[in-house]
Amino acid sequence: MLKIDDLATGYGYAEVLHGLSLELNEGEIVAVVGANGAGKSTLLKTISGLLPVRRGTMTFKGESLVGRRPEDIVRLGIAHIPEGRRVFPYSTIDENLSVGAYTRDDRAAIEADRDAAYRRFPVLRERRDRLASTLSGGEQQMLAVSRGLMSRPKLILMDEPSLGLSPIMVDRVFDLVRELNAEGKSILLVEQNATRALAIAHRAYVMVTGEIALAGTGPELLGNAEVQRSYLGG
């Protein structure tokens, strides 16, 4: 579904990804783990078109993503739920959900999807007219995920969804990832919480300073002694 080959990108004069290759098949949860600063967020920003590709190829369902604008990539069916949630703090929950459907025009269906989001997270419905900044971190993450779903994506890019959440909320987030996957969404999950991510991923990549160091199935990598030592603090 998503195929990345020899991808290079960066900021200004600094190159951050140096020839990275990665693949994701339809229906998979693929985890990308690695230390802080490895370039995981950069990878996601490049896929969603926020950063220009400098070298390499990137296709989604056979169509090249290189040089496309972010709005076109959203239309192709990729949603990016950014690191740190980034809900629109001075818009209401309702407005945050609506803007998630910016690329769509089918009013009735949008309304239905918003309702589905509220059914999934009743807390959000209770506060639908409040500003997003008034939500707790966990609630904001729910909102960010729901907002991402409003574009009806086939592939979801999630950047550190468990970051900064309480242990209970972390559990809920990983359950949610599974749940979405069961509903048919493919997921590219970036996490520093490698143990949890590897536990739910079908396949995973370990990223070190802009390159893929290791690849395998989730359980394989979890059992790998070197991965344990270097990335899982074991």
Binding site: Y11, G12, Y13, K45, S48, G49, L50, L51, P52, R69, P70, E71, V74, R75, A79, H80, P82, R86, F88, P89, Y90, S91, V99, G100, Y102, T103, R147, S151
Partner: protein
């Protein structure tokens, strides 16, 4: 009763004027709120398009056609400004974008003067001048029409923001550009839209202005920008409802202050703008978040959202200007050349001009400290130069003071004035220093024009020649050396300070004020220091100027002077001391060389102000090809989000 009715009548008039300000302010506030960019071309756009309409009407083109055409012109100019002055610079540096918007303002102003003359054009009183007498006081019905028309346009705009897809995107883009992009909002198109709507609304304001006063003229542009700025700040940046109310309020305050000021205190109406500014400054001191203080303004939101890339962008793209920093060894050589120059160059005309370049260089060096090193906006250097010049002129004319003492008193007074306005302004927020200094420069000029002791517009002629230990400074060569000594001293001071821990603190503040504060730097104190030194040097430059010209007049210290000093700084390179001298030399040289084409000179300078930031010609002499390619890429390319792509 009649008094009260008269008061009501003034309020009504004030509200009509305020409606115009509100229309201007909303566009300005949107642009500022979303991009944190002060669009200094806003008022000149409004003047240009309104004068265009007036010209069409004078040519007997129907109103039905002329007004829509004018609005189209305003919209298109807005779009061009976005495309050429802002988009290429969006991730560079805010100061640079200010220069390029000033460039656009120059071009528009010069353009309307070129096509339609510098004088006022008649504008038909489209809304009539019907008055209804109530208890002996005539109520202007027109004013109500004006207010209604303004409110109707704003309602239309509000509806558009709420109901249309592209309009609704504006509110999200204002909060967080990269995330908006992830939602599929086309960022570039949304931002263009903001400029287009801002332009169109301001033209509606212009038409209403013309219909109230019956005349429109090129010089109405810049005050328009200032009023828009003031109303936008008072209303809370990015808060459109606030801008509306603040605009109306500003109109009322202005009208009331002028009418009653004249009636009770014999205040000249020339103080109109000053009154509004003083009120503004007082207001800001007590309510820095703006009128609608309870709501967080979008600027803060925008700032939070953009923190991710702006910090990086600032570090990677520090604009170098025209010149790379020369080696330290060059300084003595440069001084030696300067000392020997009069032996070779005997033409008095050139020596005079070079002395003027030295004078400007001193003022620009001051700007360099505050803006180039410390990153604080200071738009009023003309005011401090005026204080210096008039102090010296008055001391030399009326007392026996030696000119050296006068020079120091002049610098000292400029410094004190700077501290008086800078301390409160900087305590509030850095952007406000820009506004306050701006206002201050104008207030100083207004005081000079309207006071007895300065002899108003006539100025002070016949300033005695300076004399030291019995030696008179008389010839252009004498003045050349006098200016050179001052410049060397000023330069040495700046070099010393910027090399010290103070300079390091300034740079830290420039890069990231919050981080600097976290590092334990007392940012307030260092900002004041930079600003104070800048004012001091401005005062010194002005004092020298007075002695060389032997006359001072208010026209020397118009806003153009402050703008000129900033342009010199940016041309030469911010944070680059030798560049300040080179920038001054280039601008003065260009002004002299362009004398033959005086009628388009300022448009030409405006063009330079726009192109230099885009093409960064520090490389013009080094690698012409790549530099042009990079500049061109900026015009053409600029990724829509730029998210985290800082530095490109």
């Amino acid at each position: 009763m009649a008094d009260f009715l008269f008061f009501l009548q003034q309020i009504t008039n004030g509200l009509a004027l305020g409606a115009v300000y509100a229309l201007l302010a909303i566009g300005f506030s949107m642009i500022y709120g979303i991009l944190r960019m002060m669009n200094f071309a806003h008022g000149d756009l409004y003047a240009f398009a309104t004068i265009f309409i007036a010209a069409l009407l004078i040519d007997e083109i129907s109103v039905i056609l002329a007004i829509p055409l004018g609005i189209v012109v305003g919209t298109v100019v807005g779009i061009v400004i976005e495309r050429v002055c802002y988009r290429p610079l969006r991730f560079v540096d805010r100061t640079i974008a200010i220069v390029s918007s000033l460039g656009a303002a120059f071009i528009l102003r010069n353009g309307s003067e070129y096509f339609w003359g510098v004088h006022a054009l008649r504008f038909p009183l489209l809304l009539g001048q019907q008055q209804v007498p109530i208890a002996g006081v005539n109520f202007p019905v027109t004013a109500f029409y004006v207010i209604a028309a303004a409110l109707a346009s704003l309602a239309l705009f509000g509806l558009f923001m709420r109901r249309s897809k592209i309009g609704s995107g504006i509110l999200f883009v204002a909060q967080d550009i990269p995330t908006s992009s992830l939602m599929g909002i086309p960022i570039n198109r949304t931002i263009v839209l903001v400029y287009a709507i801002g332009g169109a609304l301001s033209v509606v304001g212009g038409v209403l202005y013309g219909s109230i006063y019956g005349v429109v003229f090129p010089a109405m542009g810049f005050p328009g920008t200032i009023k828009a700025f003031v109303a936008a700040v008072v209303g809370g940046i990015g808060n459109l409802g606030g801008a509306l109310i603040a605009g109306l309020l500003l109109g009322v305050i202005e009208t009331v202050v002028v009418v009653y000021g004249a009636q009770f205190f014999g205040m000249p109406t020339g103080y109109r703008d000053a009154a509004a500014f003083i009120l503004l400054v007082v207001f800001l001191l007590f309510k820095p978040t703006g009128l609608m203080g309870t709501r967080v303004s979008m600027t803060e939101v925008g700032a939070i959202a953009s923190m991710g890339y702006s910090a990086v962008a600032k570090k990677t793209v520090r604009l170098l200007g025209l010149v790379a920093v020369p080696r330290a060894a060059l300084a003595p050589a440069a001084v030696a050349v300067a000392v020997l120059l009069p032996l070779v160059l005997t033409d008095q005309y050139y020596l005079r001009i070079i002395s003027i370049v030295f004078m400007y260089s001193i003022a620009v060096l001051g700007m360099n400290l505050v803006l180039g090193y410390c990153g604080q906006f200071h738009f009023g250097q003309a005011g401090f130069m005026a204080i210096g010049a008039y102090t010296t002129a008055l001391l030399l004319l009326h007392t026996e003071t030696n000119f050296v003492v006068a020079l120091l008193i002049s610098g000292g007074l400029a410094l004190v004035a700077g501290l008086l306005i800078g301390i409160p302004a900087l305590r509030v927020r850095s952007d406000y220093l820009g506004l306050v200094t701006f206002a201050f420069g104008e207030i100083v000029r207004l005081i000079i024009v309207n006071s007895e002791f300065t002899r108003g517009p006539m100025g002070l002629p016949g300033i005695p020649l300076p004399e030291l230990f019995g030696v008179k400074i008389v010839t252009p060569v004498d003045f050349y050396y006098y200016a050179l000594v001052l410049l060397v001293l000023a330069y040495a001071m700046c070099a010393q300070v910027t090399r010290s821990y103070i300079g390091r603190a300034w740079r830290a503040i420039y890069e990231d004020e919050t981080a600097a504060e976290a590092m334990g730097i007392n940012t307030g104190r260092y900002k004041i220091l930079a600003f104070g030194l800048a004012c001091f040097l401005g005062g010194i430059a002005g004092a020298y100027w007075a002695t060389q010209l032997r006359i001072v007049t208010p026209t020397m210290f118009e806003l153009d002077l402050s703008v000129m000093v900033i342009i010199m700084l940016v041309l030469g390179g911010m944070g680059n001391l030798p560049g300040s001298i080179i920038g001054a030399a280039i601008m003065i040289g260009a002004t002299e060389l362009l004398r033959p084409i005086a009628d388009v000179r300022s448009a030409f300078i405006g063009l330079v102000m726009i192109l230099v930031p885009i093409f960064r010609p520090q490389g013009l002499f080094v690698d012409l090809g790549p530099t042009l390619a990079r500049g061109w890429a900026r015009i053409r390319g600029s990724r829509p989000t730029g998210a985290d792509g800082g530095g490109r």
